[in-house]
């Protein structure tokens, strides 16, 4: 039930914010803030109460589950489950939810109630994506986060907002339909094998699928997820959407929506289609490396500060893609860590851009420069975030990228070498941001106030978390470990539900697990570490 509340709180909060927004806009801000803080507290309580290590033996790897029938004749149910990966993502969602409400506090002045309704419903949708274990339900939430996001960009966005919103919608929707086809394909294959119609994730796992069909079904999921991630060459919706979205929208897009793609790869592509995923792994890693370099070069070329930061996401998520398809725990942990820290550091940069834009009404870096003099605090924060973004050791992003690369090195040295070159390019564009905005001479004498207490608090919390994760990432690594080890082994412990209806596909999957071909030299020690 507690899982349901994670989704219900923003849904209810959103409706209330809309209603009370008509009375007083401030009321809807406070309602949204309180709702997201409640959500965050709830997520943190779950985190503290459920040490991930214990869960592995208990409930088939799920820390918490919730199950209720929905449309039983088609095998559709309200099935939510939480493991370490989803817990971390839910924490990130709730935290960035609070942040994005605060970031729009003075930013959004029109239709405040409806704005917050959309904002909270996106967050509910994202949380649902991270929790759903019924594929139909997953698809439902996948669409649910899309539509309010469309409104967010199209109504509160900047110059080119309609174009960007439609582009975002078409890319996501088209690839989402491919996923729907793949889900149905899996659904009917499972029926053919067992005579049972079900969208239940835990039951669908281990479905034996003819290999050519498995490849097609896997590609359906894969494309949907890499569009969201995004990987080159399906990334072009991202710069437009990020640039034209309001600040909160950019924070959520970069911080969360991109992560749903990576999450989907972890949750569905690898466990459901281990063979097919292993077959395309080298290809996916190359895509990741290309994205790292290509995104970085494009980022450097931009004059629009927000667009520049948008392209850096393409570059950073390349590390995630490499990490996921390296198929070992090191790289997996690196991908998870990069997902979290990228959400914080890039989110922070988007908020800074929002603040600057709000005051000087331009994002053109040719017109900035020398801002440090008038806003030193903002400059220092920007410097910190730029350093996080170029992967400075001691900050969380470094832990993520380093782990992803050291894991990737064990399976694919050329791809890793190219990705490492990306570190140099990241330095180039990160320093370029600082030079063109905060350093140098002031080109136009902007008078802008330094960070307000509210924004300072937001930034300070992000900075503290990034340093914490950079120096003591153990809590996050420990939380993700059991779930990642489970994926690595390709073994899904039989849940209590499946105990009653044993699945013939399961045993087959246990014995010949293709993921073991990519096993690192140290596969035994993972278990030793856990004890």
């Amino acid at each position: 039930m507690i899982l349901l509340w994670l989704i219900l709180i923003p849904i209810i909060g959103g409706v209330l914010a809309w209603i009370f927004g008509k009375v007083n806009p401030l009321l809807s801000r406070w309602i949204s803030l309180i709702a997201m803080i409640l959500d965050l507290i709830l997520a943190v309580v779950i985190w503290i109460q459920h040490p991930a290590q214990i869960a592995l033996e208990n409930q088939g790897g799920w820390l918490l589950q919730f199950q209720a029938p929905w449309i039983p004749q088609y095998g559709i149910g309200f099935y939510f489950g939480l493991d370490g990966i989803s817990l971390l993502m839910v924490l990130l969602t709730a935290f960035l939810g609070v942040v994005s409400v605060l970031a729009s506090w003075s930013d959004i002045r029109e239709r405040v109630g409806f704005f917050h309704f959309n904002l909270l419903w996106i967050l509910a949708g994202v949380t649902g994506v991270f929790l759903a274990l019924d594929l139909f339900l997953f698809y439902f939430f996948w669409e649910m986060m899309l539509i309010p996001m469309y409104f967010l960009i199209a109504i509160w966005g900047s110059a080119n907002r309609i174009y960007s919103a439609i582009k975002f919608f078409i890319f996501t929707q088209a690839s989402g339909l491919l996923m729907l086809v793949a889900i149905l394909g899996l659904y009917f294959t499972h029926f053919q094998n067992t005579g049972v119609y079900t969208f239940n994730y835990t039951e669908l796992i281990g479905t034996s699928i003819p290999s050519h069909l498995a490849m097609w079904l896997m590609l359906g999921f894969f494309i949907a997820f890499v569009v969201k991630l995004p990987a080159v060459p399906v990334h072009t919706w991202l710069p437009d959407a990020h640039t034209d979205a309001p600040t909160a929208g950019s924070v959520i897009l970069a911080g969360l929506l991109l992560k749903t793609g990576a999450y989907g790869l972890f949750r569905f592509v690898l466990p459901l289609f281990p063979n097919a995923a292993a077959q395309i792994a080298p290809f996916a890693m190359i895509l990741g490396a290309v994205g790292i370099i290509y995104g970085a070069v494009l980022a450097f070329a931009q004059n629009d500060l927000k667009r520049l930061i948008a392209y850096t996401s393409v570059s950073h998520l390349g590390f995630v893609l490499i990490g996921i398809f390296a198929f070992n725990e090191l790289a997996f942990q690196g991908a998870i860590m990069t997902m979290i820290c990228h959400g914080l550091s890039t989110g922070g940069l988007f908020i800074l851009v929002g603040i600057i834009y709000d005051k000087i009404h331009t994002r053109d870096m040719d017109r900035m420069g020398g801002l440090w003099e008038s806003v030193p605090r903002m400059g220092a924060v920007a410097m910190f975030l730029a350093m996080a973004s170029l992967g400075l050791p001691g900050l969380g992003n470094f832990v993520g990228e380093f782990l992803a690369l050291i894991g990737a090195f064990q399976v694919n040295i050329p791809v890793t070498a190219v990705a490492v070159v990306g570190l140099v390019f990241a330095t180039v564009y990160s320093l370029w941001i600082i030079q063109r905005t905060f350093h140098g001479e002031q080109r136009e004498s902007w008078e802008l106030p330094d960070l307000s207490i509210r924004n300072l608090a937001v930034m300070a919390s992000m900075i503290i978390i990034l340093i914490w994760l950079g120096l003591f990432p153990k809590p996050v690594l420990d939380t993700a470990r059991p779930a990642l080890q489970k994926i690595e082994r390709g073994i899904i412990p039989i849940s209590q539900v499946e105990d009653q209806t044993p699945n013939p596909g399961m045993s087959r999957n246990l014995s010949d697990n293709p993921l073991h071909i990519a096993e690192p030299v140290n596969h035994n020690s993972a278990e030793q570490e856990g004890t």
């Binding site: 450097f300 050291i406 350093h439």
Partner: protein, 630 residues
């Protein structure tokens, strides 16, 4: 006592956070007290710990303090842990003591500057990161310090951020060193994948067990680490950033770009010496890189007009000597030269800074002149530093360390005549450019106006460093001078002894005389050229060919130009051309095509019944035709 080790890097770090958070609101005296005081306490602690280490060494001459597990994934579990052995004791002492003196100097030097607290914050962060670098017990923590000092170098080169040229120099330093760091990161990945650990001591043990001498993995690992080292230590081919780094304030040049950070590469190679011993081709490469660099940048130093750029090229050259020593397996000689170099080069930069400050930020030596009598303290200390740099025999610290390197370049089993000869020519050039600088700056007529003489907090560090530049070499006397060598003996608990031929005292004396003659010869030529003006120095750069050679040396052998064409320009070109993202053209293309089709089809729906009827008829005919003929 050892349990306090963690405080040595932590105290400056705490001061950094304090200054960043509240520094802007503090009075300058408080800022100075925090900034210099924290490093002072750190230096005292380091002295006490080092004294304990020397008097009652820990078992196996090493002490490790594990604070917590940093990243624990599978068997990848680097700790936040500090490792103290003879090598890190020396490094720690130099970093904190020289660092403290430079902080003391900065109190007065930077007083008039905006961003006083920012300056001390960055400097404190630097000292802390440098200490992490030399104390880190595993390569990942070392890498943290390594990147941390790189960050501080960037921040401090660009300290006067309003001038875009400074920003450019700062970015160049960061990006060029990061190229080396990328290679080093790959080296770390390789070491971990093959040896299953990144703990330095464990790597050294396992490498010598698992890898044969000359094996591919050892060679690759050593080569990749060398990539990192040449970046940080400004050696060929990544040396181009250091001369530009002089855009930063002089104390920064003294601390970061002379005494400590730029020698991190030397430390890295000395620290992982077994990997290099296992990879003879790479070790030879280290020596060759060092020899080539010391010569190339020596020539460049000869032609500079900016006093700080002379010192910058000279730093590159002196680190070249250290690399040469590492390459021939004379690790203690490299560390010895690192120490004396830290003393005298920090001194020279601080002295240059004092002159520049007194002369309204004038950097051009040819506009100085005659400062000998006007700034006596600066002059005498600068002279002591120059003597050490030029390796004036017997009375300067630089002589003992450089002589040791020259001797081992010849006598080590991995050395040879060519390496020795290059080093000898380098010694001659060093004497020449050093005293060219001294004579131009301090002799002759005064060309500029001096308005402000350095005060006490500037003089004290100069005097202390001046003393160290003279006596700092007495801790390691060669065989010919009684073989009083406590420094080498101390370091041998952490570093291997050089594998050298026994050539006898007579040969050694001969070689020392040759080395002394080379250094003195250089000084004498400088005297003839720039003081007596027996040969007019302008003659040297006159004429087309000589002018071209002069400009070639002046520009640092055209490396900037080369890299500009190979890397920078193509990158900028691609960025500019692809600004609009060529991939997006596919999608806008699809959109354009469908819009075109839409327009085409729309035109057919024009409401004219005749056209519709014709369409229906045509369609019917085609359908029937298909039905009949197929």
């Amino acid at each position: 006592m050892y349990s306090l080790l963690w405080l040595v890097p932590t105290i400056p770090l705490v001061s950094f956070f304090l200054l960043m958070l509240v520094g802007a609101r503090l009075p300058k005296k408080t800022i100075a007290a925090f900034g210099a005081g924290s490093v002072g306490i750190s230096a005292l602690l380091a002295l006490v710990i080092s004294f304990t280490f020397m008097t009652s060494p820990p078992p196996q001459h090493a002490y490790t303090q594990v604070l917590w597990t940093w990243i624990g994934v599978g068997n990848f579990s680097p700790d936040i842990a500090f490792h103290l052995d003879a090598l890190s004791v020396v490094m720690m002492l130099v970093v904190t003591v020289v660092g403290f003196l430079i902080h003391l100097y900065s109190i007065e030097f930077m007083r008039e500057e905006e961003g006083y607290s920012r300056f001390f914050a960055y400097m404190n962060l630097f000292v802390s990161m440098m200490l992490v670098l030399v104390l880190g017990s595993n390569l990942v923590l070392l890498y943290l310090g390594w990147e941390g000092v790189g960050l501080c170098s960037y921040l401090l080169i660009g300290f006067w951020y309003k001038d875009p040229a400074n920003g450019r120099a700062a970015r160049k330093a960061f990006v060029v060193t990061r190229v080396g760091d990328a290679a080093m990161a790959l080296g770390l990945f390789l070491l971990f994948t093959q040896l299953g650990t990144l703990n330095i001591q464990a790597i050294l043990e396992k490498a010598s067990l698992q890898w044969a001498t000359g094996s591919t993995y050892a060679t690759a690992a050593a080569a990749l680490l060398l990539g990192g080292a040449v970046g940080k230590s400004a050696q060929l081919p990544l040396q181009t950033w250091l001369p530009d780094a002089m855009a930063g304030p002089s104390p920064v040049s003294a601390l970061i770009h002379a005494a400590t950070m730029v020698t991190a590469g030397v430390y890295l190679i000395a620290r992982t010496n077994i990997l290099f011993t296992l990879a003879p081709p790479v070790q030879l490469l280290v020596a060759v890189v060092g020899a080539a660099t010391l010569l190339i940048s020596g020539f460049s130093a000869l032609t500079q007009r900016d006093i700080k750029r002379v010192l910058a090229y000279s730093t590159i050259s002196q680190i070249g000597y250290m690399f040469l020593a590492l390459g021939v397996g004379a690790y203690t000689a490299a560390i010895f030269h690192f120490m004396t170099h830290a003393f005298f080069k920090a001194l020279l930069f601080l002295g240059a800074g004092a002159i520049i400050m007194s002369m309204h930020h004038e950097h051009d030596m040819f506009k100085m002149g005659g400062l000998k009598d006007k700034m006596p303290v600066t002059f005498w200390t600068f002279l002591a530093g120059s003597a050490a740099l030029a390796a004036v025999p017997l009375i300067s610290a630089g002589f003992y360390s450089k002589d040791m390197i020259l001797w081992y370049a010849w006598s080590s089993k991995s050395g040879g005549a060519v390496l020795w000869l290059v080093a000898l020519i380098g010694a001659f050039i060093t004497g020449l450019y050093t005293f060219r600088m001294v004579f131009i700056t301090f002799w002759g007529e005064t060309k500029g106006h001096i308005d402000k003489l350095p005060g006490k907090t500037i003089k004290i560090p100069l005097i202390v460093l001046g003393a160290l530049a003279i006596i700092g070499g007495f801790v390691d006397m060669p065989h010919t001078l009684g073989h009083f060598a406590p420094f080498s003996e101390f370091l041998h608990s952490a570093l291997p002894e050089v594998n050298a031929f026994e050539l006898g005292l007579g040969t050694e004396v001969l070689f020392q005389l040759i080395a002394a003659a080379a250094a003195l010869g250089g000084i004498y030529l400088a005297y003839q050229l720039y003081l007596k003006k027996a040969i007019h120095s302008r003659e040297v750069s006159r004429g087309a060919v000589r002018g071209a050679v002069y400009r070639f040396f002046f520009s640092g052998w055209g490396f900037d130009w080369l890299y500009d064409w190979i890397f920078v320009k193509p990158f900028l070109w691609i960025a500019r051309v692809n600004k609009g993202d060529v991939v997006d053209a596919i999608y806008t293309g699809i959109a354009a095509v469908s819009r075109g089709l839409h327009n085409l089809v729309r035109r057919s729906q024009d409401g004219k019944v005749r056209v519709y009827a014709a369409g229906i008829a045509l369609g019917a005919i085609i359908t029937i035709a298909i039905a009949v003929f197929l």
